[in-house]
Symmetry: D2
Subunit: 353 residues, 4 copies
């Protein structure tokens, strides 16, 4: 089993290696009649794209997406929507040196153990390039959610290394800086931090948060298809993710019951520690999710490792990598939230009409 | 869609309300030839059971499990294994008062929004009683994993409210105290804390950790069926869970790349910040997961809420509830880890022979 | 993988061996608010039950069904509905003699090859007793289809051995005779045929047809979830089924295009060779399906076979078996049609609102 | 739900309209290490292609397939294999006249009812062009089955209109004539029949049979994933299929039990009425399947129909269509058998190791 599909009724199947001819996806289950504009998908892709600032990888990915099927006269037809992006800027040479070495912290080692085959070019399917397709499919889900339910999804960088970036929450600021930080006043500090990191050849982790508003109550299944369980899976499935919180998350360990439970009044809830999900089902409050991303392991600072024969080697990575992959994760986190909500909107409709 | 099944190849479907005639499950996909002993399942259930100490709910659940199918001459036959537990100690009277009120922090509200039907007796499917079936099915998965791969799964309480309980890691101690704490020296402190809570009518959260050793490298799918994504889903799907970490989890936000990446030598990894999963696939290191459980919302301390007509009401819960649901979560967390690993062992075998 | 579930959104998982303690099923995905009455389920079960006439097996199966979950105050709640029937009349002694021999035409041989385990008591999961659960779940699906869409499902015996029974179509007659024949005038002939067969110790095949009227147009998926493909799977999956036709079926091989295509007028179609399905999607015409059932292989006429060691043996079956399993297949065929339509009604609603 | 995926562990997802930019598929679950050669896939496609003789559609489909992912150094890597064929010879003009009319016997009507959208160009997803992807994916499955199990799959035309073509079974002859007839002596008769049909503007049905030899015993699940049920679904899901038989098929209705049951000796079965499947599981005998294909409904002989406004219209179809779609169905039937067997080989391995 090789599981390249996400979703139950809104199903995304992705394919493609970072250094093969193309990457793409098939979106199966999009309701008919949704206006679909390739420019809107492209817009989301460009938010994720590299090369926007000196703080992310200097690869120039064009990411020009083509729609191959499922759209007729600008509208979804209800049949599968295939999207394709050709790979153009693949410098395979960068990878030659590490073809037979395992990079610590990378999927090299586990792919080798699983498949017994080494596609050393850019990491095969483990490459973050696969996430372009999540963003592209997410753009379609977002549009449907906005048009049918006025659901709005907003993600932001909450912490970069040691720097908290969500002490001030100015949603307007998020798309005004290359970090997706909601606090314009920390941008300079972030830039300095990144410059230092880049100079030192090191990397740092990040925390990204996301919120969906206007989510109707009733989404999610009570036992194994819980909305929060599906969100946890979707978020933990993003490259480099190591932890996921809903609402208060780990802070709930320290809370008292009287503090955590969100009291209700005729005009609404008095707090949102639950993060919009109770018993696995959306409550109508904002859905709040937070995700931790580990620091990139591909560094030019040497480290100890082994090669495929088990010999001790030193590994130095020379490719063009982001010193903080979490920076570009914001549009991906948003997309995953959109995909999960979209799936649950259709699931809810199936059972409850 | 009402999604009461977990797993792809080792599939558990549960059914039953806490106050109906019975709860049960169907385990589909258990390989033939595994010795199955009802006493072994019962042993796991009794670890989870209430009434073990004054610190958990005083309901006397007998949880006597029956095997209805799939086992012949003490061995699994490869056909579905149905397990059944009759409900005996259901005091429906306890729930009468809250039949038309929503308990803050509970699934009452969201079930009503989803189904338009109020099964107020014990919360219907949202009751933690459903987790007996996870533990029962988990017992079978654990046995298979142990016999075929020598995989050992150990869970423990890592924090209870403000008290860290994992500063000393003595695995022997875990089953010697009613908290599943690995540090015998904190037990007295925990008891005092729980006594205070019970007296005050309040509740607290908890963090539970779990480890699987001897997990073969190669389990997990590279993109959407990642082992860590499936673990996140399984853990977040436990009642009251609000956050999940793999390995370093949220601590990775603060780590540098040189610190987080686990260097490799011919004799093994030098650290395990990854928690045994790289690129969604097991590395052969111990799999490490940590889960946050929120404090119980069912308290005898009154709180503000509304009834099903939207009127303001005061809610006081009188049922017999655990002041810290996290205490009993340890065997459930272990079971979920076993179910996910079992499923991935079969998935791996399907594709890679 | 052991695949005991049918359906995508209306999912039936069955369990239980014919000679174990019980058989049962879990129905997951039933919309909330449907009135569910155990007597209605029992009524469908009694149509399938043995012992109705001297022409079917003389086992006295009581088939008393219990509802274990998912129903509250006489209504489905949207949570899984578990049904259970205890096994009472299992004469295991009947099977002792054939414990180590393979019965030709039976699943003994293939189960042995698949699982390497011999549950010789009544054939384990291959027993037709599993079909009680299809009929029970089908009763719930039928009720929903009738109440929501006025869909009516009617099955009948179309041929028994060499005797055509559908030359006269009197739907009222079907439930007036133990054969489900729509032509009362052939009943005597059928009885004589069955008496001869029983005396000779032999068995015969049968053809069963089924019709659903008032099926809304638009059910079915265009490519792999075609309505007719799902019907073919559901029908071929009934014990002893060997062939399935939709509409004209094999007769279409001989037809000209001008004859087969069903012309359309403003008041409707002029014929129904398509059997109500075009391009995999229901057209609004009656859905017509026909199924062939092979003659029972369990005969007291000896035959050549081998035992589990590969030695030549003679096999004589002494159990109480139906000389024509097709007779009791009519309610099962109806149930399978109901289950497939129910699933597609929910699938259609999910995508198209 | 729009269900464009077939298979559980060897999963094919297809996309593309006949008149859009391209059609393609994603094959998910192919084991790593299988040699994959685009020329082998192309060879299977050319067997299905139109334009081979004057008896099939005169469209010149090039069907040049590209591999976009999942293959590295000529070997499958275990990641999804995406295949793409660009559409080149789409004469949309041919369809202009019928843009608002429903063609009797076509999916026009049911697509309209389902989606409320009319993609009149070549029938959208209902076009037989989608089957190129089944053949392409089937080529990969066949190769695996041959290399790992020596399974050989052979299909043939068994009947064309009134002409039986399988009275003589010469497997060598099949690929020597444009009809896939196993009896060279009937080819002239078939040509005359087709010439007459074409002149008259009419069409005829066909029956196609297929056999798989060396299938290991033990494939298939006992209840809902029966091998024969999955075959029935796969075959009925081919465009224009109306009936499916396994082994004796409908002939079993007339057979006695003593005739139908395949007796066993130490050296093997004495007959194969079962068609290689007992109780849903392969027995090791040849798997035998037969499929009926209806006559094309797209004719230049006028017929009565309605338009999308419900008005009476006359429909004449001018596109380039096959007078007997069954002729080109043989490679598709073979491919579907390969896909189902491949899936079950992996499923069996998952459970039984």
């Amino acid at each position: 089993m090789s599981d390249n599909t996400i979703g139950r009724l809104f199903r995304i199947t992705t394919f493609g290696e970072s250094h093969g001819p193309a990457i793409g996806c098939v979106i199966d289950g999009c309701p008919p009649g949704l206006g679909i504009d390739v420019a809107e998908i492209q817009r989301e892709l460009s938010r994720r794209a590299t090369g926007k600032s000196r703080h992310t990888s200097q690869r120039k990915e064009q990411d020009e997406v083509q729609i191959l099927s499922g759209v007729f006269d600008g509208c979804s037809t209800g049949t599968p929507i295939a999207l394709l992006i050709k790979n153009t800027d693949a410098r395979s040479g960068d990878y030659a040196e590490i073809a037979k070495k395992f990079r610590p912290g990378h999927a090299d080692f586990t792919y080798w153990k699983k498949y017994g085959i080494r596609d050393h070019l850019g990491g095969g399917r483990s490459s973050a390039r696969e996430t372009t397709m999540r963003v592209a499919a997410g753009a379609i889900a977002r549009k449907y959610l906005r048009e049918m339910f006025q659901i709005e999804i907003t993600g932001w960088l909450a912490q970069l290394g040691p720097i908290r970036t969500d002490q001030v929450m100015d949603l307007e600021a998020i798309d005004q800086n290359p970090f997706f930080a909601p606090d314009a006043s920390v941008v300079e500090q972030l830039e300095e931090h990144m410059d230092r990191l880049r100079k030192s050849g090191n990397s740092c982790g990040a925390r990204v948060s996301v919120m969906a508003s206007n989510v109707p109550a009733g989404l999610g299944e009570p036992v194994y298809g819980k909305l929060d369980a599906d969100l946890a899976s979707a978020m933990m499935g993003i490259n480099a993710a190591k932890a996921v919180e809903i609402g208060a998350g780990f802070r709930c360990v320290d809370q008292l019951g009287t503090e955590h439970r969100d009291e209700i009044t005729p005009t609404g809830f008095l707090s949102n520690h639950a993060g919009g999900v109770l018993g696995g089902i959306s409550s109508g409050q904002d859905v709040l999710v937070s995700v931790a991303f580990k620091p990139t392991s591909s560094l030019r600072i040497p480290c100890r490792s082994i090669d495929i024969a088990g010999n001790e080697v030193e590994v130095v990575t020379k490719g063009r990598h982001d010193p903080c992959v979490g920076i570009r994760a914001t549009p991906i986190v948003e997309a995953m939230l959109a995909l999960v909500l979209m799936d649950h909107v259709l699931r809810q409709r199936a059972q409850n009409g």
